[in-house]
């Protein structure tokens, strides 16, 4: 089985300081991978390097494209990479307003990716937007409202709908539940878990919330100071942490 995404020795430094270094892993189709670690451990740097938002200083990010097989996304041409990022890839930002067009209605936000890949039939675009808003539990009668009229949880769900409408194969998520209260978080996680299973998505989820990865991720990567300190199956890492930092992380979670 070929991996969907293969990361090899990715390194990013900010001047003399290390963003992340020596990161290598394979992600297989349908697999959800969690990246956890404290603030400043390099998780977001790594995610942005993989998603093409930041140019890494070294390494390879190979993606199994539909037409050409495994291709290094760092050396592919920019039009091709941008095409990839609005078809096969999706990126869910921590703050919904980074990933949404706040001045454009919810329906327009969902339709944007469809129009970006060439949809030119208003009725069909709208139909698909209604369908996707329904899947993320946003009422049809809210579809012409701007996202600024939505609650934080709704904005986040809208962002997810907007990203998944073109049927991507790989989703990057940067703290998708950050800043949401626990009950909204629970609903969002439920929704995400349903969508990921239903669509057979592969996903990379960056978070500092261990509950999120426990629920969503098959595999886990623990980062500290730009290095990967431990990897393994989620339950294995969380229930039997080996590295001192992982032990600290797991024991830091408050029990209610």
């Amino acid at each position: 089985m070929t991996p969907l995404l293969s990361v090899k020795d990715v390194r990013k430094t900010y001047g003399g300081r290390i963003g992340c270094t020596d990161v290598s892993f394979d992600l297989y189709p349908g697999e959800v991978m969690g990246i956890v670690g404290e603030s400043g451990s390099g998780k977001s740097t790594l995610l942005n390097c993989m998603a093409g938002h930041l140019p890494p200083d070294g390494g390879q990010v190979l993606f199994d494209t539909r037409t050409r097989g495994m291709v290094d996304t760092l050396t592919m041409s920019e039009p091709e990479r941008r095409m990839l990022s609005r078809t096969d890839w999706a990126f869910v930002h921590q703050h919904a307003r980074d990933g949404l067009r706040m001045g454009v209605s919810a329906g327009g936000n969902v339709g944007e990716r469809l129009m970006a890949v060439g949809a030119r039939h208003y009725g069909q675009i709208r139909e698909q937007a209604v369908d996707w808003l329904g899947r993320v539990e946003i009422d049809e009668d809210r579809m012409d409202d701007p996202p600024s009229a939505f609650s934080g949880g709704m904005q986040q769900r809208l962002q997810i709908a907007r990203n998944l409408v073109t049927g991507p194969r790989l989703v990057f998520m940067d703290e998708p539940t950050g800043g949401l209260d626990v009950s909204v978080q629970a609903r969002l996680l439920d929704l995400l878990r349903g969508l990921v299973r239903e669509m057979g998505l592969s996903a990379i989820i960056v978070t500092h919330d261990l509950a999120v990865v426990r629920l969503l991720a098959d595999r886990l990567m623990v980062m500290k100071s730009g290095h990967v300190v431990e990897t393994g199956l989620t339950d294995q890492v969380l229930d039997d942490p080996q590295h001192a930092y992982t032990q600290l992380l797991v024991s830091s979670v408050l029990q209610v």
């Binding site: 920019e78 039009p79 941008r82 067009r101 454009v104 209605s105 329906g107 327009g108 339709g111 944007e112 990716r113 129009m115 970006a116 890949v117 060439g118 030119r120 039939h121 208003y122 009725g123 675009i125 709208r126 579809m143 012409d144």
Partner: protein, 292 residues
């Protein structure tokens, strides 16, 4: 006259502008940056158009300037005077007689011919500006032909108003490549952009020049199920009776009285001279007396 270099700008500046114009014509719809000069008029009054006109004018040219279709509005009068004074060229109000026509917000009703140049004044050359504020990003989008966002604007129109409510500065695709802002002309004029004359666009404040060469395909963007509609007021002209021209609505009294007249004053006057009459034209006898 000898106080000014011909057509106000110095020769080096005109050379620089001409190079930008040539590049614009070579790449239809592409916005060419140029070093826009300070002109003796405020930004927004046609500083870009004036510079392009100045670079195009030759001593034997005849200039026509229109503002919203009219030859006698402030903007048109002052620009026409400006070139009369600084270039000493012939000016006209007749579309057919002009070799260079500078326009703000309209294309003349009379079809333009080969050998004529139509210069547009452009306030904002970037069609994607209000959708994507970053110029670095919009330039990349033009380069990579990523124009999905333009349709998001049209989608929003239909979602809000039930039809494409954009009625001026309606985005067009030039020769199947660049999406271009046709300057704030009414969308009624968009189909006329497939023309025999050279069309040049100058944006002074934004420092951009772009062009549409003769006989270039200009397509207004739309959706398959909401096709482009070059709408106009559903009235005939009240002075010349024309039913196929773009009309201005004029309020004539305090009781809701209104009239519709051709916005192209030259075209309307010519039709009236040929004997065409509208709803509010003076009775024939009066007109004849006035003529005598």
């Amino acid at each position: 006259m000898s106080d000014y270099n011909f057509a106000y700008l110095d020769e080096q500046t005109k050379r620089m502008i001409r190079r930008a114009i040539l590049k614009g014509i070579a790449v239809p719809g592409y916005q060419v940056p140029f070093a826009s000069r300070e002109m003796p008029m405020p930004y927004g009054w046609g500083t870009g158009g004036v510079q392009v006109s100045a670079a195009c004018l030759m001593p034997e040219d005849t200039l026509k300037v229109i503002d919203q279709g009219a030859d006698d509005t402030t903007n048109a009068v002052s620009i026409r005077k400006f070139f009369e004074k600084t270039a000493g060229i012939a000016v006209t109000e007749k579309t057919r007689a002009a070799t260079v026509i500078q326009t703000r917000h309209r294309i003349p009703e009379e079809p333009l011919a080969e050998g004529q140049i139509l210069v547009y004044q452009v306030p904002i050359p970037e069609p994607l500006r209000f959708l994507e504020p970053r110029e670095t990003e919009t330039r990349k989008m033009h380069a990579l032909e990523e124009y999905g966002l333009m349709h998001v604007k049209l989608y929003e129109d239909i979602a809000k108003h039930g039809h494409i409510a954009t009625s001026y500065a309606y985005p067009v695709k030039v020769e199947g490549r660049y999406v271009m802002d046709p300057s704030p002309i009414p969308k009624f004029d968009n189909p006329k952009m497939d023309m025999a004359a050279i069309q040049l666009f100058g944006a002074g404040r934004e420092q951009r020049i772009y062009a549409v060469p003769p006989y270039t395909k200009v397509v207004s963007l739309d959706f398959e199920d909401h096709p482009f509609d070059p709408s106009k007021a559903e009235h005939p002209c009240d002075l010349c009776g024309a039913e196929h021209t773009y009309l201005d609505e004029v309020i004539v009294d305090d009781d809701g009285g209104r009239m519709f007249v051709c916005s192209d004053t030259d075209y309307c006057a010519e039709r009236q001279a040929l004997g065409h009459r509208g709803r509010l034209s003076p009775p024939e006898t009066l007109a004849e007396e006035a003529a005598q």
